[in-house]
């Protein structure tokens, strides 16, 4: 950071010397307190904007923003970690609202340099995190009151859903979240992930706890993990691995999940988005895990 700003100083000095015309540029219009043209980066942030009823202020979204379906009519500024500076500026935003981890950093710097307010919204995987996220988005949009009532509503629903999920469970089921089965190798979720959090919130137990993040699991590790249920993302008919194929894989075939043919598929953004719909996700996953 220091280095970057030092370079910028050197450079601005050079610019000033090179031409007074460039240096005498005005600062441009200052943005008002309640921005009207917003670029939303990150699926769950976009969902919150819609839940607040402020979607008319959106002018663009990123590739990960796929819900609600009408969001797809907005221009797409690219994958949230690979934003293009001119692409984002081309929609003339007054505010960029981004989920934690948007980037790359040099692009964010250019956007800040252009004096477009850039607000980063935290992305922790918990009920408190969702509430904080809704409030942060509400504050950024200048609709703190609306956000407070939405947050209370979401908080109540989620607390109820979580409580409901934890009630009357005699033996919690062991759930293995499988991200992909590319090339016959199982990429599964360990701890410290959205999948791990949602499994616990829904009254399940993550079957893979020996590692953090998403990793390839060896066949033996899967056998030892002994999941009762396999949880996967629903990616549309063509991309899904067939149920028979999954349970025929040597590693998976020995698990209790294979014996019961217990496979749950859910929409990825609903399951892992941690936004206003998470209560819905908890209830749905809980019912899928404990059908009776």
């Amino acid at each position: 950071m220091n280095m970057s700003s030092r370079w910028m100083h050197v450079l601005y000095a050079a610019i000033c010397c090179a031409g007074a015309v460039w240096a005498s540029m005005p600062l441009g219009a200052e943005t008002g307190s309640s921005p009207q043209k917003i670029v939303s980066v990150g699926g769950s942030v976009t969902e919150v904007v819609y839940a607040l009823g402020e979607e008319h202020r959106l002018v663009a979204r990123d590739t990960t923003s796929t819900y609600p379906p009408e969001v797809s009519s907005l221009p797409d500024v690219g994958y949230m970690r690979r934003l293009s500076p001119e692409g984002v500026l081309s929609v003339a935003p007054e505010l960029i609202l981004a989920e934690e981890g948007a980037g790359p950093p040099e692009v964010i710097d250019i956007l800040k340099e252009a004096q477009v307010p850039f607000i980063e919204v935290p992305e922790p995987y918990s009920r408190e995190g969702i509430i904080a996220k809704i409030q942060a988005v509400g504050d950024a949009l200048g609709v703190a009151d609306k956000a407070r009532s939405l947050a209370e509503d979401v908080d109540a629903k989620l607390a109820a859903a979580e409580q409901n999920a934890k009630d009357d469970i005699r033996s919690p089921k062991r759930v293995l979240f499988v991200l992909s089965t590319e090339g016959g190798r199982v990429m599964a979720s360990g701890t410290e992930t959205g999948a791990d959090a949602i499994i616990q919130m829904s009254g399940g137990v993550n079957a893979a706890t020996g590692f953090e993040g998403y990793k390839l699991m060896s066949d033996e590790a899967i056998t030892v993990a002994a999941p009762d249920v396999i949880l996967m993302m629903d990616r549309g008919a063509n991309h899904d691995v067939a149920e028979d194929e999954l349970f025929a894989m040597p590693a998976v075939s020995t698990t209790p999940a294979a014996a019961e043919k217990a496979l749950v598929r859910m929409n990825g953004l609903l399951l892992l988005g941690f936004g206003p719909r998470t209560a819905e996700a908890v209830t749905a996953l809980n019912q899928a895990l404990y059908p009776d």
């Binding site: 950071m1 220091n2 280095m3 970057s4 370079w7 910028m8 050197v10 450079l11 015309v21 460039w22 005498s24 540029m25 005005p26 600062l27 441009g28 219009a29 663009a60 590739t63 221009p75 797409d76 500024v77 690219g78 994958y79 970690r81 690979r82 934003l83 293009s84 500076p85 001119e86 692409g87 984002v88 500026l89 081309s90 929609v91 003339a92 981890g101 790359p104 950093p105 040099e106 692009v107 710097d109 250019i110 340099e113 252009a114 004096q115 991200l179 953090e212 993040g213 998403y214 990793k215 390839l216």
Partner: protein, 353 residues
């Protein structure tokens, strides 16, 4: 591209001279267009007119033209020229049409450096990450590339003589080693880091900033100037090392210069733009077909054409799916590969170096 008549080499020498001006002009034109083309509707002409009549520019125009398009143009110019000249020098040095800047180990080493920082960056001491911040990846890539080249160079140099054959083989071994280390890091990377790595490997000029231009510019510029002076030596080397030495070419000194400049130029290029393939291989071959194998004009033309092609590819990358953009490595390969194949099929005999 006008293809030369094979039977009149003298003609191609003249053509190579003319090509300097033609490519220079082309670069100027493409560069100017690249300042006017982008996702936003900011136009260069309108901005210049405003400057001419003394109107102030809007902040949008100022940012887009000066902070986004201008550094991108300069970075594209530097990187394109570095890759094309690096490829030309390597093909001449190894006397092998398949050689590219990656042969001196820069690609694998830079990749390893970048992956190290992307995956293990959080383990570095705070004072270090705070002081270099977002330049971590470029710096690590440059150091990784440069270190690999130096190791390779040491391995293949015995009693003051560098064996290019040893270098080629040792390069493959070092590449495999770097690949394996990268593999370990990829294994422990989380899904976000994996996406970062994939995008890094595809290259992009989207993160172009003045700071990157200022950091990479001098290294690449010096390396290019030195490399363009290697033409006579590379011509001699085409006859074989012994013959080259007999006709008075300081073979070892030339090898040193070639290897170090290529490592410097492409290391800096890869560091600021990620892995951009194809320019380094295709540009020299296109030029040899068109204007003959004489390295003296070839090196200069390669710099001009490489810069032009990369700037053009970058323009496509940033408008084709605007407001999002494609990684530039995809554009260079998707457009470059079919054209190159077509030329090869038509003029097969000419590519035998």
């Amino acid at each position: 591209m006008v293809l030369a008549d094979t039977y009149l080499p003298a003609d191609r020498v003249a053509r190579a001279r003319i090509a300097h001006f033609a490519f220079g002009l082309l670069l100027l034109v493409v560069g100017t267009i690249s300042l006017t083309v982008g996702a936003s509707d900011v136009a260069l002409g309108a901005a210049l007119w405003k400057l001419a009549i003394g109107d102030p520019l809007t902040r949008m125009e100022n940012t887009v033209l000066w902070d986004i398009r201008m550094p991108r143009l300069l970075l594209g110019l530097l990187v394109g020229a570095a890759l094309a000249v690096g490829g030309t020098v390597m093909q001449g040095l190894f006397r092998n049409p398949l050689a590219d800047p990656g042969l001196v180990g820069v690609g694998a080493g830079a990749g390893l450096g970048a992956i190290l920082v992307i995956v293990l960056g959080t383990l570095l001491p705070i004072w270090l990450t705070a002081s270099v911040g977002q330049f971590m990846v470029p710096i690590a890539a440059f150091l990784g590339g440069w270190a690999t080249t130096l190791i390779l160079y040491r391995v293949s140099t015995r009693s003051g003589r560098t064996s290019v054959a040893t270098m080629l083989l040792a390069g493959i071994a070092l590449g495999a080693l770097a690949g394996a280390l990268s593999g370990i890091l990829i294994y422990i990377a989380d899904d976000r880091q994996l996406r970062d790595l994939t995008f890094w490997g595809l290259g992009s000029l989207a993160g172009a900033t003045w700071a990157k231009v200022v950091a990479a510019g001098p290294i690449i510029a010096i390396a290019l100037v030195v490399a363009c002076g290697l033409g006579r030596g590379l011509n001699g080397l085409a006859l074989g090392e012994a013959t080259a030495a007999h006709i008075g070419i300081p073979v070892q000194r030339m090898k040193n210069a070639a290897i170090l400049t290529v490592a410097g130029a492409t290391g800096a290029a890869v560091a600021v733009s990620g892995g951009i393939g194809f320019i380094g291989i295709v540009v020299p071959h296109l030029l040899r077909i068109g204007t003959g194998p004489d390295h003296r004009p070839l090196l200069i033309n390669a710099a001009l054409l490489g810069a032009t092609l990369l700037i053009a590819a970058d323009m496509i990358a940033r408008v084709v799916i605007a407001p999002a953009e494609l990684p530039i490595g995809i554009v260079t390969a998707v457009l470059g590969a079919p054209v190159f194949l077509w030329i090869l099929l038509r003029r097969r005999a000419l590519v035998d170096l």
